[in-house]
Symmetry: D4
Subunit: 250 residues, 8 copies
């Protein structure tokens, strides 16, 4: 390739004097998040370059080496294999679930407190997103459980699980296609439901949009909806909701 001329602005190279958590001209870690919100920042990987993910992981490693406490657990979400590898290179002890595309560092989840978070999903294809939700709630400190494949096309699968669902302080319900499961579940229990639309489906399912609209239009109250495939957001919200509930489950 032909040589490219130097840039127009004499932009100064960031020196080593950047503040902690700050990568000059790129990003600024929200290290105050735990104090302010009760949970540390998560790193959304899929819109970042591999190099950016590596830099962030290295900054966390550097901060830990420098003696910072309570940095984590830091979650890296939506990490494809290349980004996961970049993060693991800097933080080799991290936990990694390839299906859920999630890493957690440090790997040990906190001792669970608060009420049980159950993540239920309509079909097998919803599992990766459901697992992301479960792991997020787990690393934010709640006891969790995953119930798979209780879609409403065969209602008996749901009905036999109702006693179990009623143990939860919050239920995350993941569903694609028609997105009808959260309504049915919410109508049967007293705990809040976090509705998690997934992009499973085709045609007018529109990559999860129909499921999201269905959930917002639910004829049963007690449902809060998050973005399509946002397992992290669902798990985070569920962990907040279940925080004060009496311990139960597992």
């Amino acid at each position: 390739m032909a040589e490219s001329a130097p840039g127009p602005d004499g932009r100064p190279v960031p020196d080593g004097g950047a503040a902690d958590g700050q990568i000059e001209g790129v990003l600024e870690l929200d290290l105050d998040r735990t104090r302010r919100r009760g949970a540390p920042e998560a790193v959304l990987c899929d819109a970042k370059s591999v190099d950016q993910v590596a830099s962030i992981a290295e900054e966390y490693a550097r901060l830990a080496a420098a003696g910072w406490e309570d940095l984590g657990p830091v979650l890296f979400t939506r990490a494809d294999p290349a980004r996961a590898e970049a993060a693991l290179a800097a933080l080799p002890g991290a936990f990694h679930d390839a299906d859920a595309r999630l890493l957690a560092w440090p790997a040990e989840a906190p001792e669970p407190t608060g009420g049980l978070v159950i993540v239920a999903c309509a079909g097998t294809s919803d599992l990766p997103v459901a697992r992301e939700a479960e792991l997020t709630a787990r690393y934010l400190g709640r006891p969790t459980r995953l119930i798979a494949d209780i879609g409403i096309a065969g209602l008996h699968r749901l009905l036999t699980r109702l006693p179990e669902l009623r143990e939860a302080a919050c239920v995350v319900v993941a569903a694609g296609m028609d997105g009808a499961l959260p309504t049915v579940v919410a109508g049967q229990i007293s705990a809040p439901v976090v509705a998690l639309p997934t992009s499973v489906g085709y045609g007018v399912a529109h990559g999860g949009v129909t499921a999201a609209l269905t959930m917002l239009s639910a004829c049963a109250p007690g449902i809060g909806v998050v973005n399509i495939d946002n397992g992290y957001g669902a798990g985070h919200l569920a962990a907040q909701i279940a925080r004060w509930a009496p311990a139960g489950g597992e």
Copy 2:
């Protein structure tokens, strides 16, 4: 208002020689419909002027007086009070259900044959459309039954009705808001389900569009969807479906 000058085209006044069923320059009744499709034409009133509805009703009255047989039962659908009155003026013996906005002439429904058509609806607000569907199937010759308010926010209402729903040769399920009921019903019975989205709801329910998309995306097979609030189309299709089934119900 100032006087308007005569038209540009010397358009000939339709003479008395128009063919039967033809209102020159306006419409042409599809009198062949029963032979071809097994059911007579219906008159969709809400996009026609009151005068046009009156002309059509009068043409039917004229044809009947001229000795035509098997003209009906003719249905007038989506008739507001003014259009209903216009039709009744020409066809005074017609049946009229103001809630369903439907008239039928002659008023006597045929002797029921074929399988039972059940029309079930999710909520009280879906009743007018559900009743339109039921009456249509009834006037097309099927035994019918209406089951109200079995929405999935309270699943027990549906579960206790399952034995009854299983008697049907075809079930029309009307629902607005999340539109989730047809999936749940279809998953529990062996008869085909006609899904009838209604415009009940607000916000992202979008006047029935969300319900229609949900029904098309249903995770259970055995569902055919019709247009929003199209009770006539749902009842017509159900009557065709149940035509050959063994008698049952009522």
Copy 3:
């Protein structure tokens, strides 16, 4: 108007033997709701006829007179003046907030338990929906507070309220137009946020759709979204969320 002929089906008049809570062919009250979900059913008025609202209110009055306990508090939501009057005629002691279009019967809210629910709204125009949310949470048993007009066009109004917002166990944030307020609030507190899009705005605000999409796409976690203008649903969810939290506020 011309006389209409009798119906085709000899539909039997419902006798007095209908089950409690059942209005034959019309609806079936979900009297089991409190046991199952911890809160009684609400009556969504705007898709029901005035007569239907009256019948429902009368059935509740009848059940109370017959000695049923724990029927309420029953909420009538989205009640315009005619429907509100119909309900009040049968349940004369009910509480009525005309702006919020809400009635509650009996009028006394339960003694508050659990954590504080704060309802914050972006602008003056969001007040009716915000008030519906607050009253719902109040009648479901939580202590509540309303904070008006803290939209992000003038950030100081929000910043001075942060200490107060941090007292809440759950914050409902109502906003129309750009719908950006819930993200900003969620980023500053540790309690869950229920995002309540309103139909305030014009042009591409699309009656609240843009606000709803913004809230679902929020860059801060900890937000559950409900349908546009669904103050009832937001208050219901908030009351469930705050149920186990330690008492605070007011």
Copy 4:
């Protein structure tokens, strides 16, 4: 790749004691489906991993070896080559149509009963989806026939096929682009039409959405619409509809 640390939850490995049809934490086959609905469950492959498809096929093989009867015919739909190969490895005698992306096990279709199902399609490009619909109806027990390329741009192709179309108890009509064929067919026959929009087309055809909306808006009654490219759903519904009709065709 760097080593990943162990998981946070000591999740127990599913033991051999799982119930029949249950793959712990993954899915639960709906083995009750035939009894309840008259047709066995189908496996939608494209949203499942190759491993999951293999596991399901192996579970069916295991159940058959264990003496279960009436398991099938099980259909595997939307199977790309890799998923088809995985299923065939476990169920080597299965029938496979690569164009229709469908497998059926066991390979022998039931002896046809009920009325004839005709699947007609508008253009050559609609053939894979049309064939999926035909095979589904065939494996659900109906006599079937496929009529290709009768799009309305050349009406004579349709008109010469009308006598044949009138033999059917149900006609599935697959069309993309303008999606106008189902209306034209429904207007000429007395049997119900299942309208099957396909993703064929470009520009404002929007991957089948325009065809789906056209079909829902059809000016002829007697049409039930399924999701875009949902050949399985169309064939399933057609088989249900034609179940009671007198034998005909072929």
Copy 5:
């Protein structure tokens, strides 16, 4: 009402010296249109105030009195009764078709030249828009004919009209709901088709949007689409298309 203070800008009252066709600060008639485009400007009334329509009509009257030639025929389109009355007051000899909401001044259409324009419509409800198209083509100088109610739900109505349709140099086809008629017509004739979607229909017909999309996606070539309910635009385009064709029809 309280008195309003004077404006901020001392905006000068337009004096009598405005150019011909110019109404200062309001509009500027495109009097060059006939020379440039072969047809005079039309006045779209529904987005103008009654006063503005009156001013425009008066300006035309003034110009005519001042000796301008070849001003017309000027069309006033989408004129409700109040706007029609305002125009007729200034131009009392104008032609007015209240159904088509169209006025033409002067009232005499030009002597027809060029090929025949046929306007065909699918249903009775499409008549007002179809008539607007026909009158526009007529006043732009073509021989015209209107064929009503040949919707494809009863194909025989269309087939018997084919010889007549083949006489046209251009066919405008107006249809709402599924919008399928233009494709069927275009497939049978050699003349260009102007597809005119109408807002007739309900539910997912979306006020004509579905019809417009169907027409753009038509599987037959030879179709140009105009905006929903744009009878004027359709007639204008048809008149241009038929301009050079040999005389025929009528």
Copy 6:
């Protein structure tokens, strides 16, 4: 109407001790706006009740009487006659333009500074919104001019105005329907263009959405788009843009 029982919360009546600009539980005027942003707050009337508009106007009157300076000019936008009357009752000297639905108080606009703002509109129907934009820029302190009816269907009208348009420091271009005018203008001048889509049009113009999308997709750079019919926002932005430009025009 039956009597309504007292509320549940003993909500305290706001005492007279509220802070300046604060109407307890309703709103809080952003009196800091001029210092922070260079222009005072505007009151969007159409989403507020008549009483709320009256209260706000009264609060401004009270503040002025109490000796506050630099309160204005306060704009009341989108004021229908009832809301305008309410504002004028409290602020009788205010300027009111009924077409633009705008009030300004005090009535005298500031002495113009900065560059000329020209507001150009495509058609007569865009005038009210264009005038709202012009008045806003005028009251924010710029010299302004309005050019009407230069739509691109007759390009000569635009071309003859180009020298004038080139005098402006910022041009607001209002257009509905196809929304193409801003692109054409921006391509001919060096000043920034504020594109103001209007809701003028029908069919697929979609109430201004098509115009907005066209403007965002413009093939010429130098265009910033505001919401549909947002004359206030366009004028505000234009006044900010023209602030530093050398004086010109008028």
Copy 7:
């Protein structure tokens, strides 16, 4: 891959006795098209498999060898390299334009008759679609000319071409992004304009949808719109329109 069992239906292999133009179970060439519509059928390649394209090309070769006359010119549209190669293998003398993705057989275009068709495009990126339109009109027998890059961001490029554009009997205008060019052109000439939206653009250009909506909403009459990127349809329509016009150009 494991072996697949035989099919369920003993589907007969199509014998050599299929009618001319019929490929049994796949398609049926519309050999009557030239007689009926004045132009032969075109083969839309992108939704057909390479094998299907090959079969069709071979059938045309077979028919020609069997002595059929007037088969063409047959156009193969939207042919990628693989499909183009398949067609050329069977019809080696065909014309092929790789940019326009179009083949024509036989290669010689007819002697031009009728009026001039000009295809104008807004930008360089619209050239492939514009060229498809031009070639289609050329092979349908019209004299044609292509004018590139006259987008409205630099109006002088268009203005200098106006005399040339006024020679045309029909102008096809291709444009993506804002799609504003057809309106500007139509406003300046007396010939009909075929508006051809292209998928050029990004963001809210939405792959051509915005351009299509803009064109349908055009404020100038005399425009007929075709589907996005439908160069074939635009050229076909233009050829029909220009058929009767006096010869001109080239």
Copy 8:
């Protein structure tokens, strides 16, 4: 591949006599742009072939060699590596920023004049688009600065930057997902804000559409929106806006 026959039109090869800036049949450079608009044309690469980009770069090189002055700085935008390489081959001294996908020729930016343009972005993923905006403003002659990662999920990051943001004559704010940042910024400063939606996000973020709608619906005035990911357009507009402002920053 089989040989393709010669074309139908004997299209003349463009001779060497084309005007400066004209590539016959392909494009026509807008060399008048700087005189007319104050900034030269930019070359949008992603919708052009590599050969077309090369031809354009070569034409600029030829013009420069021929002695043209003031050709630049010419920007090549949205250039992938292949297109960048093609441009650099002809213009080897050009500046190239691979992340921003932008080239500038000649490489030296003009001496900055006018007010400071600050480009601020919400998150790390918005950086490439933000950098494109900054470089564009820089090459159009303004002093510029980039502020990264001040998203509203952690408000302190924004608040600490406010003094800096207040130095700017124009602030470009790039944000994806909820797109809420421009409103917050605009509410705090007196300079105009150019809102630049980015395609960062997933689910209902809809590739930037939600952000664009949010920005158009902003509750704070002073915001002009450009197309999604249109960094070039944002920078161009900002440079125009800041042109007359007093120098500041850097």
